[in-house]
Symmetry: C2
Subunit: 479 residues, 2 copies
């Protein structure tokens, strides 16, 4: 059967981006010299990454299908093969753009003489200190390993129970270099616990366990919230954008203002910009550098994810495969670890955490778990309905209790034997089926929009917790 036709590209529009991208890359060499030259180069490379991805995906589709990397869309009336594992293209473009960016972030031979004679006011980051290069490279190494492991997962189709620990392997370079660089393993203790543990606690080896688990969490939590067109890429896109917004709060912008949270009676405050104070960095050059590093990793990720989403949007012309989830998940773990904001990062995963908690009775075997838990497609109405898991034997007491709690909260719909009251069917325990239980049958396109809305709401809530409530458990001590 013929493969689906790729989505057409308005070529002029996208090719028009090339001069814009080139200007951003060249901007650091033009007067007036910017305070953070690599910031512009990053924008330029991200635009190029966007253009490359949006062109390469339709161009390489037939190659992927020939190499048997193809799948059928279970939620469509047609059966034509669609190229699968195309996250590999996103990952390749992403990693290559991060590699070519190295000399721009870590070496500014043209400008260094000029700057020496005419210093700019405020915090400038003309180039990263070279010990940061190891950090950057170990992050890249983890990303490449995550990509290769994700692709191997696609090729060898590893069972999901076996693949849970795979991201730990990819995080090894990160951990090894963290150790070799004598990385900080202290954490700031929340206020209520300080009487027991003191202000700082050295987690030692436990900190490494925490970092390894963070990568597993960020990778798998995106991977299990999948199954409909655009779901993986849109999650990654919004989380990356959330991280970027958070990073921008720590950079030395020429304009500055203060969000008047005290008017709401909160002692917390959010500052933004200022060439010396650099917003929430409060003048700490180290915090500026950390969040710049995070920004440099997130911006091209936004570029490749949005370019991919163009082709993955309903009705999908390309599938991401596990490769996309592994690479994006590892990218989030990398910035959380290297820029030291892992707690804030986790807050951006609220829908994923909800989905994981909801899924856990199926993941841990209390409720039967079919191979696919995607919503059920009704060919006649073109609507998605919650898919169901059938109990072949009556559920255990604890399972019954959990399912009744979920049902009361409106998370699942149960089918109960009219006489005995025994549960014999439940909707599958995923956030997608939960949406369908709540909002009734939806078109696939509407369901992914609901998912996107929940992700954006989660981010807003995350910012409120981080900047509005964090003073309840933390003082300003952010080591």
């Amino acid at each position: 059967m013929a493969a689906v036709q790729p989505r057409p590209l308005p070529k002029v529009l996208f090719l028009g981006l090339i001069p814009v991208a080139s200007w951003f890359i060249l901007r650091p060499m033009l007067e007036p010299y910017p305070a953070i030259p690599a910031f512009y180069s990053s924008l330029g490379f991200s635009l190029f990454a966007f253009i490359a991805t949006i062109y390469l995906i339709p161009a390489l589709g037939p190659t992927f299908i020939n190499a048997n990397l193809k799948g059928r869309d279970l939620l469509k009336i047609y059966d034509n093969p669609i190229p699968e594992s195309m996250g590999l293209i996103c990952a390749s473009v992403y990693i290559l753009s991060l590699i070519i960016f190295i000399p721009f972030a870590f070496s500014t031979p043209i400008r260094e003489q000029v700057l020496a004679s005419k210093p700019l006011e405020g915090i400038t980051v003309p180039e990263f200190p070279h010990q940061q290069l190891s950090v950057y490279l170990s992050s890249l190494l983890s990303l490449v390993l995550a990509t290769i492991l994700g692709f191997l997962d696609d090729v060898f189709d590893i069972r999901w129970r076996h693949k849970l620990p795979i991201p730990i392997i990819a995080s090894i370079p990160l951990l090894m270099v963290y150790y070799a660089e004598h990385g900080n393993t202290n954490v700031v203790v929340p206020l209520p616990l300080r009487s027991i543990f003191g202000t700082l606690i050295n987690l030692g080896p436990l900190y490494y366990v925490y970092m390894a688990l963070l990568s597993t969490f960020s990778t798998n939590s995106i991977n299990i919230l999948a199954g409909i067109n655009g779901s993986e890429a849109s999650q990654a896109l919004i989380i990356a954008l959330s991280v970027i917004v958070n990073d921008l709060l720590y950079l030395p912008w020429p304009v500055d203002f203060r969000i008047p949270l005290h008017l709401l009676g909160s002692p917390a405050e959010v500052e933004f910009g200022g060439v010396w104070s650099a917003g929430m960095a409060h003048g700490s050059r180290e915090l500026v550098e950390r969040h710049l590093l995070s920004f440099y990793f997130m911006l091209p990720l936004v570029a490749v994810c949005s370019a991919f989403l163009y082709h993955n949007w309903y009705p999908a012309r390309a599938f991401p495969g596990d490769t996309l989830c592994y690479t994006t998940g590892m990218a989030f773990a990398v910035v959380g670890i290297q820029a030291h904001f892992s707690k804030t990062l986790i807050l951006f995963f609220l829908p994923q955490i909800f989905n994981f908690l909801l899924s856990s009775p199926q993941l841990f075997g209390l409720v039967p778990c079919p191979r696919h838990r995607v919503p059920r497609f009704d060919r006649d109405t073109n609507l998605l309905h919650p898919s169901k898991a059938l109990f072949l034997t009556p559920p255990a007491k604890v399972t019954t209790m959990i399912l009744h709690i979920f049902s009361t909260l409106g998370f699942v719909e149960l089918t109960v034997h009219p006489k005995t009251g025994v549960i014999f069917e439940t909707t599958n325990l995923t956030i997608l089926n939960f949406f369908l239980v709540r909002f009734g049958p939806l078109k696939e396109k509407s369901l992914v929009k609901v998912l996107i809305c929940s992700q954006v709401t989660g981010t807003l809530l995350a910012f409120f917790i981080r900047y509005g409530l964090a003073w309840l458990v933390y003082d300003g001590d952010r080591r």
Copy 2:
């Protein structure tokens, strides 16, 4: 058809290596403390890499066959599928062992207090300086990229003309970090040219072109000398061993001696060992560190290649795929570049250079190039004969001339039209066919042994040129 049975493993023998490997890894913590602790750890990790590879290859064979990574052996009477691309396992074990090795080479927290109070005599390298970590990581990144590209080549089966430049992509991290670290782009000018160029010449961007081409050369030259059981792995093994022997000449061994080349009337001399002079390093700590770095990259490569060769030896139970060639080729380029002995490295490729020069009329289209140029297998006698390329149209004048020269030198056998004298057939232009032309039909096992002998002879010649003749064109100035 059933897959071929894997080669049996004498388990006790190999499992017996585990305590030995563990001792080597622990050795740096035991008194008397060694001058170069990571040297022992490297030995230990290489032994573990050997054990892991020799076990994983037969264990994962069926998985590879299920994922359609399989091939048939063209030079056998049976047709059973054999797992292909198993160089991926070698590459994974190799890279993982290099990653886990990082803290051992770059961080020695246990010993640093001890050593401070009781310094050892001679050149010690208790840990690498941290700026070298970037160099190490960029090398690893290039290796991982080479692996992923090699595997993609296997999956997508890229045409050979298109894949020639692929190693250049993998070398980008190397080049970027070399640039960001303001790497040296000067080369020492050979004596006869010094009147024109001076002692040192700054190649600038050309140096980067040279480094990129080196990786293409080392990768592809191994890749085109392939086709019989054990050929790729044995080439890589012998080149890696040659590099190791060369590295050992630059390390601070407790024993020292001098090879009396002056007795042969040569002004050159080869020194070995000495805790302060460190053999050919002549007391330069920098040269010791460079060759240690090279040693750390080569030793686990020897381990995985020899473990792979156990299963790839005639009759092969596993095929390497392009992945092995890409990874090993990039590993050689990495050490040549990072440890600054690329000219010596190229000397270890003499059979590959001969094969490339011999092949060039076919590679550049002067002589027809069939899909496979492997020798022809005679099922009745179990012997290999030279395979032939047929001219559909009479060859051009220059082609005829080249082929007649090759024929006079005994490199090829031509079939000439008895009346017109026009060449209408030639043996394929590879070193394997050349051996068969010279030595007559051979068994596959004998042919690979001839190849190995030629590689060893090449190495001996290389050492003679490097240490016996280099004084003719270079003085002692080795920057």
